[in-house]
Amino acid sequence: MAAHAPGAGSGSGCSGAGRDTPSAPGAAMADGPVADVLLRRLEAADGGLDSAELAAELGVEHQAVVGAVKSLQALGEIIEAELRSTKRWELTAEGEEIAREGSHEARVFRSVPPEGLAQSELMRLPSGKVGFSKAMSNKWIRVDKSAADGPRVFRVVDSMEDDVQRRLQLVRGGQAEKLAEKERSELRKRKLLTEVTLKTYWVSKGSAFSTSVSKQEAELSPEMISSGSWRDRPFKPYNFSARGVLPDSGHLHPLLKVRTQFRQIFLEMGFTEMPTDNFIESSFWNFDALFQPQQHPARDQHDTFFLQDPAEALQLPMDYVHRVKRTHSQGGYGSQGYKYTWKLDEARKNLLRTHTTAASARALYRLARKKPFTPIKYFSIDRVFRNETLDATHLAEFHQIEGVVADHGLTLGHLMGVLREFFTKLGITQLRFKPAYNPYTEPSMEVFSYHQGLKKWVEVGNSGLFRPEMLLPMGLPENVSVIAWGLSLERQREPPVPRP
């Protein structure tokens, strides 16, 4: 299919390729001759061996031995390696020189012939200045200041012992411990010795010790499977503490997942979905049919989005409209009515539906026209609109969830029973009901549930029995009651996992 798009031939068909696979090992281990030698030495060794000593013996960098230890460790229980830090005395560059050529004072002593030497000449020697004062304090030499051609240096003793050189040579030979603490610190003060910390491994045999370790495989390959070579190959262990690679997939919107869950609950309860695919509604269906008077605040410009184009509904079911008009303005069906002048123009005004109850009214009207009456359970979940300015707590559009049951002889107790089942399916079991006012339901009840987190009762929905002034003009039989409830989808939380 890439043929249409020049230059895009490769596409991104090989998804995930080139990504890191953090928990799986990368390249095979780097083992080599050092590791082999180490294993052989270890086999012969009694107890274990020190990495630094081995390095010294083999004449390789200590780091090379450490590398071998680490790669062997990665193989599992071949070896055990214990990290040790040891302190060691080493000669400084000057200390090396002295160990080789003798101390400055010894060199001064040796350069003084039996007949003596002019002090000025002696001072020009490389060791002159430092060696002169030391040799003086050792009382190896003396200065004759009365000599004719300036001060002259003479030997005091015939021979001397160069202790500094001897001690440094001991340190160089790895026998620093033979020196007294005082001697070491003196040499350190003279910057001839330094103490260094060395990290070494004490390597011993592991539980799976073997001198013949082979190279580890990173991953199982098709070739290994077909040849069966996987049986004999060691595999590099995974790092299970690393994160996995996220699946390369799309996602459903969290709120719409909740919508799916609510649909499922309604369907499980035997509720049929009403058509709600008409955001535009006439005031008639949105308000008048629900016995909501034309002066009701909800019909205010401040609360409802009215339309400029198409401003008015083109058709209304006029017979029914007349019954609605009469009920509002004069009453009827046992009602006093609201006693005001009902205007058709007001009912024609188009708007963005403020609740899905408009769709329920249409559905109930269709039901009323079907004779004989058959009981129904309806639901809908869809968008509704309110003229709000958006902020953190106000949306101009949100989703309303609505359930409706119409049958002979339904009671408030039935409404509460259905609500209990409905909310139980949502995991909400603590419910209580508060009397409330809705223009189109009577009795009306707000549904509260106990919020464990907030430690208080919070409103979760609104419900009631539709008013006879709404149902009877539609033509529904007098003994049919319609219970209904509504809640907002946006106030519901996403289920963490699908409940059993």
Binding site: D248, G250, L256, T272, P297, L307, Q308, D309, N387
Partner: protein, 610 residues
Amino acid sequence: MPTVSVKRDLLFKALGRTYIHTKVSTPGSRDHWRPLFPALADEEFDELCFEFGLELDEITSEKEIISKEQGDKKAEGASDVVLYKIDVPANRYDLLCLEGLVRGLQVFKERIKAPLYKRVMPNGEIQKLIITEETAKIRPYAVAAVLRNIKFTKDRYDSFIELQEKLHQNICRKRALVAIGAHDLDSLSGPFTFTAKRPSDIKFKPLSKTKEYTACELMNIYKTDNHLKHYLHIIENKPLYPVIYDSNGVVLSMPPIINGNHSKITLNTRNVFIECTGTDFTKAKIVLDIIVTMFSEYCENQFTVEAAEVVFPNGKSYTFPELAYRKEMVRADLINKKVGIRETPENLAKLLTRMCLKSEVIGDGNQIEIEIPPTRADIIHACDIVEDAAIAYGYNNIQMTLPKTYTIANQFPLNKLTELLRHDMAAAGFTEALTFALCSQEDIADKLGVDISATKAVHISNPKTAEFQVARTTLLPGLLKTIAANRKMPLPLKLFEISDIVVKDSSRDVGARNYRHLCAVYYNKNPGFEIIHGLLDRIMQLLDVPPGEKKGGYVIKASEGPAFFPGRCAEVFARGQSIGKLGVLHPDVITKFELTMPCSSLEINIEPFL
């Protein structure tokens, strides 16, 4: 839902609660009693509210309110008396003040009996309000009554003013339907005339002003008055303004804007003349009934109201307030059947009486006769009586049962298709977006290189912001805005939405209809047409629509559109009709949505696949 704020101490005192109270003495003010355990009292009152259908919304004080709204500085010195803010059902005008709340709750708890409100004729001449025919075009109705020998205190006076305000905001629809005026009757002399005059001909000293102004001047002054400016529009552009005079030409009020200062009521006022004018006669009568029933409590003859006569332009005269008691007959088994309880008629009558609906069993012993008092204008049908019985019974005492209604569930086919496709779109690696159905004209027109007149879009007449000018005619702008808001996410961005768009359609009753669209976008360093095209192929495979021209198949054909890069757009035909387009978006479109990368999109109507 209206919120009434009442002082807790006053409320508890009036409710005669037995909480252990402690006397609080504050220098300079009267001693008062406070509950010793306010939290307990709050909780108990909250429970009572819940049971009765009220909501204790907030416990606060004047000081707290001011400090919340204007800062701590301004709140200094304000009263810290505890206030209860109580939400009252929108149709219960009788609960909009302390007096009514207490009366309702005391009757509910059977501590008092509901009072009987009586209209009485005056000893002397009846107060008359004559309506002239000039009012017909602007504010044709008026009703009036007199509260005789009333005794105000500061708290009662404040409550009286507050009730008028609550009524104005609610049933009076911000004074458009009804406006209330209360006057010191002793400062006036009847009969009164309710007429309408040219604004320049009306001149008086209004409330809390020190000199006279013409109506024209007043309307200008009040344009900057935070409270009154909201009411000016009701009469502003009318040739004549409504006005009420006494027999000496003193202006009582210029409804619905302001009263005259002359007849202003004070704490010392003993006789109050109340007029309600409006465009809705029924509501004017209700409003008057509510005010007089609430405050006749403080008259020398408690709960009696002196009648006033209103003469209409046709010469007919009526006496107000109506204070009508209506009898309703409801069968006990109807109540039991609607609520789902089994109470005796006698018990039901008792329950209703607790709701201020005095009831008794009559006739065959199953009939209940209910007297609807003038305070309960909300009772207009037997179902309202049923509700009150249920409230008194206690909603939470009703046995829950499941209806036996047997039904087979069906999904709405369009939604079923949508659900199936959504899951497969996500499985195809696209992430679902949920975007607003309303947007600006620019989003669906200018930004897509289309003229708004070519869109068939539905236009909103009263949006508060440009974000809600039209209903979307395409899902694309919403997805592009979503990408713009998520530019920091790693590429590629692959989004989809299956939702409704709206267009005008004169074949529908409302002149507009929805279409269910599917839209997907791919946003990356390369346009990825092949990916969007592949997605279309996958969708068609899922819908069992084979590729090819033959009947029932689908093809894409080179096309063009202002939103697409030239030569990179194709039209989708399926089942013999055009269902949408796909292509690489035009750089201008990408730029206008504040994006920087190439992007390809697909948008189709899925309704042909039902």
